[in-house]
Structure formats: C-alpha cells, structure tokens
C-alpha cells in the first residue's frame, strides 16, 4: 500500500513541483542504476534505462492508482525499460543465480566444539563471539569501517551482492527484491543470509584487529 509520504509526493509531482521530482531522483536514482546494470552491460545504457524510466513515470503518473507503493511501481517501469533496451542492444544480461543448495557454513566449523566434547556444536571458548558493546560508536561508524564493509560486499558473489545491496543499502522489502530480480522468496533469503553472514564475519575480523 502507498504510504502517506508517497501520496504527498505524487500530488506535488502532479502539480508540477520540481522539488518533488528532485526528491524522487535522490531517493531512487542510484538504486535504479544498480538494478538497470543487471540487464544492460554498460553504465551508459543503464543511465539511458533510468532516464527512460523517469519519462515513463512522468507520463504514466496520472494512471498510477496506488495499488502498490510508488517505489514498486517505479521499479516495475524500470524493469520493462531495462528489458526493452537490453533486447534492443542484443546484449540482454542474465545473472547466474546460485541455487539454495550446497550450503557453505555461516561460521567456520572450528569455532564450535567437536563431537567428542561435552557440548558438541556449541561455541568453543576461543570461538565464542565477543560483545561489541565496548567498541566506541566512532569506531563503528568511521569511514575506515564503512570502507571495509563496502569491500566485504564487493567480494561477495554477484547475486549475493545484489540481494544485500537492494535489501540493506537500498532498503527494499523482500517482496520488492523478489519481483525485481525474479527469484523466489526462499532463494532471496538464502542469498541474503550468505551475504550478511560473510559481511558480519569480515567486520568481526576487522574490529578484532582494531583493539
């Protein structure tokens, strides 16, 4: 369902307020470029897709009935434009989607006690995760830490990177991500889990070296 903020924005847009359009651009432009790049091979083409999408949004605005959120509606236009332009270029890209099977563990096995210990599959003393409570907020939020997280995301597989970026950076819902990427709810969750687990591990390693 559309949010009140969506409706206000739409109203301003229909009334021709440029600031409303600027606001939408700020909200969605970079996510849109990222999604477009799933379907077309170059940055230039992705920008073309996004521009065509905005034209479509403006032209179609009066038809928008608010049955979905504004964001979902904009992204559905984006998907159509991306497919059209991708096909025109004859270079329609497809991602290799990983299957949900063959699980790699979220945490390496040697941090858990083996079967001959009193508490098999529970944390070992050395493997037990530390509290991050004592880490100053400044350390967590500084540029270096964020650069490290970005690096961890860049190191993921393409499909894991897409899902974690759309979910945790662009703040799309799981339903929106499934629609955009055309993957099942389960597959989306598995990819998100792998991605977040790896990023957490990298961050844990990084932070433990800081103090």
């Amino acid at each position: 369902m559309p949010l009140d903020a969506d409706l206000r924005l739409l109203e301003d847009l229909r009334d021709g307020h440029e600031s409303a359009f600027q606001q939408l651009i700020e909200l969605y432009q970079s996510s849109m470029i990222r999604v477009a790049l799933l379907y077309v091979p170059t940055r230039v083409l992705a920008e073309e897709v996004v521009q065509e999408t905005w034209i479509g949004v403006l032209k179609g605005m009066r038809r928008f009935e608010g049955r979905s959120s504004l964001k979902t509606w904009i992204f559905s236009i984006l998907m159509n434009q991306a497919r059209t332009i991708g096909q025109r270029e004859g270079r329609y890209q497809t991602i290799e989607w990983e299957e949900a099977g063959d699980l790699e563990p979220s945490v390496v096995a040697d941090r858990f006690q083996s079967a001959d210990n009193p508490y098999p599959d529970h944390w070992t003393t050395a493997g037990r995760p530390d509290s991050w409570d004592t880490i100053p907020e400044d350390t967590l939020l500084n540029k270096e830490t964020r650069r490290y997280i970005q690096q961890a995301i860049d190191d993921l597989t393409e499909s894991q990177r897409m899902v974690i970026t759309l979910r945790d950076v662009d703040m799309l819902t799981s339903e929106e991500v499934c629609n955009i990427l055309g993957i099942s709810e389960t597959n989306q969750r598995v990819l998100l889990h792998r991605a977040r687990s790896k990023v957490r591990q990298s961050l844990e390693t990084y932070l433990s070296e800081q103090h």
Partner: protein
C-alpha cells in the same frame, strides 16, 4: 532440546525475517536466553545490517540531474498521457 549454536547461526536470517515456525522460533529464543555467545552473535548481525545501511550512495552527477530536470520541465510544459 534447545538448538546447538552451530545450527542457530544458520537460522539467524530466518529469525530476523520472521519466517521460522512458531516452534522453531520458541526454540531459537530459548537458546538465546541461555547462551551469551549467540546473543553476541545476533547483536553483531544486527549491527552489521545497521552499518550496511549507512553506506553512502553515490551521488548523481550535476549534469545527469540537470538532464533529468530538463525532462521534467519539458513534461510540465507539454504534459502527455500514454
């Protein structure tokens, strides 16, 4: 029987996305209430998600924005319906 830690770390996303069955959910929380290591793990995971959300978006270039605003003004002057 509460779930072992090794199994819990695989269920964290299902837990946070609220897709565990009521029984699994109860076992998950029962384990958390007894295990400081796993509580730390969950807090770390939430912090990771939070920090990922602070990654800065690349800003749109002034030229690209100007181009889009031109599109907007053009639409405003000649509104067309599809």
């Amino acid at each position: 029987m509460s779930i072992p830690c090794r199994e819990l770390v695989e269920l964290v996303t299902d837990y946070l996305e609220d897709t565990l069955s009521p029984e699994q959910h109860a076992r998950f929380e029962e384990h958390l209430s007894e295990c400081g290591g796993c509580r730390n793990y969950i807090v770390q995971m939430k912090e990771t998600i939070h920090l990922t959300g602070t990654l800065s978006e690349e800003d749109i270039t002034p030229e690209a924005e100007e181009e889009l605003l031109r599109v907007f003004r053009n639409w405003k002057d000649h509104p067309t319906e599809e």
